[in-house]
């Protein structure tokens, strides 16, 4: 099958590549761009480990073709840190609140939570739980992930967050 030339912006940098039309975006990101933080967990659009941010939307990159991302602006977990290289409020929240264990769902969780907080900077616990319901975690039971997002929300809003990780 003839390959197609694609260009897009990923984590602020213009990238290009030659792909088959059937190349899944997640494989383009992981294998062509070698950004392996985006993971594959279920391949059936349930687990969210492959979540990336595309043009302001959280998208499961295992269910989209790379050709469809032509011209778009993508952020992966590798683009989540602050500009100076320090951990973002969310990344820090996940560490401080013990919001991860094996780390496999974490990139998708953080990318998803990033968009959630952009749309709703002060979500309730229920809104957080609904907001990350497209992401499966097998290790944490979600409770500390909720806290991690609350921590980040407080930090972004300049409010003190007192709760400790349970």
């Amino acid at each position: 099958m003839a390959k197609t030339h694609v260009t897009m912006k990923v984590n602020g940098a213009e990238v290009e590549g030659l792909v088959e039309p059937r190349t899944l975006l997640v494989h383009f990101i992981r294998e062509n761009l070698q950004l392996t933080g985006t993971h594959i967990g279920c391949e059936t659009t349930h687990c969210g480990a492959c979540t990336v941010d595309i043009d302001g939307m959280s998208v499961k990159s295992c269910t989209m073709f790379a050709v469809q991302a032509q011209g778009s602006d993508i952020t992966t977990v590798e683009g989540m840190a602050n500009a100076d290289g320090t951990l973002s409020a969310l990344q820090e929240g996940f560490r401080m609140m013990h919001g991860l264990q094996c780390g496999f769902c974490t990139p998708g969780m953080i990318v998803r939570a990033h968009r959630l907080l952009k749309e709703n900077p002060s979500p309730s616990e229920q809104e957080i739980r609904m907001g990350i319901s497209g992401n499966i975690c097998r290790c944490t039971g979600y409770q500390n992930i909720v806290k991690a997002i609350q921590y980040a929300s407080a930090k972004i809003n300049g409010v003190e967050f007192r709760e400790a990780a349970e």
Partner: protein, 287 residues
């Protein structure tokens, strides 16, 4: 789980898309949000030789008022439906149901057109469209036509769409001011299809049901309009006996398959309960 090879097309207009579809024939499939089709392709249960991506067609997006109707472009996503003030105001049931579809990521990509057009009995929007009395605009090589949602569904994944036709928009009459509505969906978890779900739109007058429409999701190979159940509640104040009668009338037309969600008997039983609960909640929020 890798899809088979295909050629990718991204037309910029409906006319181009229709032409591609008719030229390429049965080997071509339109691609909307992709959250039904792409997983099928990864399992190689669908192996189209050509994919016609509809994302490049600007006219397929958006929500606009047309007289007493809301016209929603087929490529409008569930996320955009949820963000629409107009929909929350005019037909809150659509907002409520969209929030119960899949999960946040899927809702950013999943479209109303894809949800209603592929004939999957598990999808939520088709029953909503029946309940709201929507019509679909289909454009094909022979021009365009309007089909009532109630005439569209023929069987599982089988609709009145002709080869070469694309569903381009849905047109929904705005329900009467003060109407009550509810979508009751029983599912095992976020991301699941309904074990059974019921949509109700009604109006009340002097404490009694004046008009009522009831739709059912995933209890038959097509979405259903529970006309007898709706008729049974007109003129009543939804007393226990009436609710029981309505649920029984609705159950009578259900024919779900047994699956991991439960046996047939259970799915019908909870289908009746969803009808009962949707009626009660709709009556409670009617003005």
């Amino acid at each position: 789980m890798i899809p088979g090879s295909f050629s990718y097309h991204r037309p910029a207009s409906v006319a181009d898309a229709v032409k591609l579809l008719s030229d390429l024939g049965e080997d071509a499939r339109p691609l909307a949000g992709g959250h039904s089709l792409v997983p099928m392709m990864k399992l190689r249960l669908a192996t189209p030789a050509h994919l016609i991506d509809l994302h490049g067609i600007a006219t397929l997006k958006g929500i606009r008022r047309d007289g007493n109707n809301l016209v929603i472009g087929a490529m409008t996503t569930q996320h955009e439906l949820l963000a629409s003030e107009e929909i929350s105001q005019a037909m809150p049931i659509l907002h409520e149901a969209a929030l119960l579809i899949a999960d946040p990521q899927v809702r950013y990509r999943g479209t109303i057109g894809g949800n209603v057009a592929n004939g999957d009995p598990g999808n939520d929007m088709p029953a909503l469209m029946l309940t709201l009395g929507a019509t679909y605009r289909l454009e094909g090589p022979g021009g365009s036509r309007e089909v009532a949602a109630s005439d569209f569904y023929q069987g599982a994944y089988f609709t009145t769409l002709e080869p070469g036709e694309i569903l381009t928009s849905v047109s929904i009459p705005v329900p009467a001011a003060g109407h009550g509505s509810a979508y009751e969906k029983l599912k095992r978890k976020v991301g699941d299809y309904a074990t059974a779900a019921a949509a109700v739109i009604l109006t009340m007058a002097s404490g009694k049901v004046a008009t009522c429409s009831i739709g059912l999701t995933n209890v038959h190979e097509t979405p259903l309009l529970a006309a007898d159940a709706a008729k049974a509640v007109i003129g009543t104040s939804l007393d226990a006996a009436t609710l029981k009668k309505a649920a029984a009338a609705a159950e009578a037309i259900m024919a779900p398959a047994a699956d991991a969600r439960g046996p047939v008997e259970y799915r019908k039983h909870v289908g009746g309960i969803m009808v009962t609960r949707a009626l009660q909640r709709a009556a409670a929020n009617a003005k």
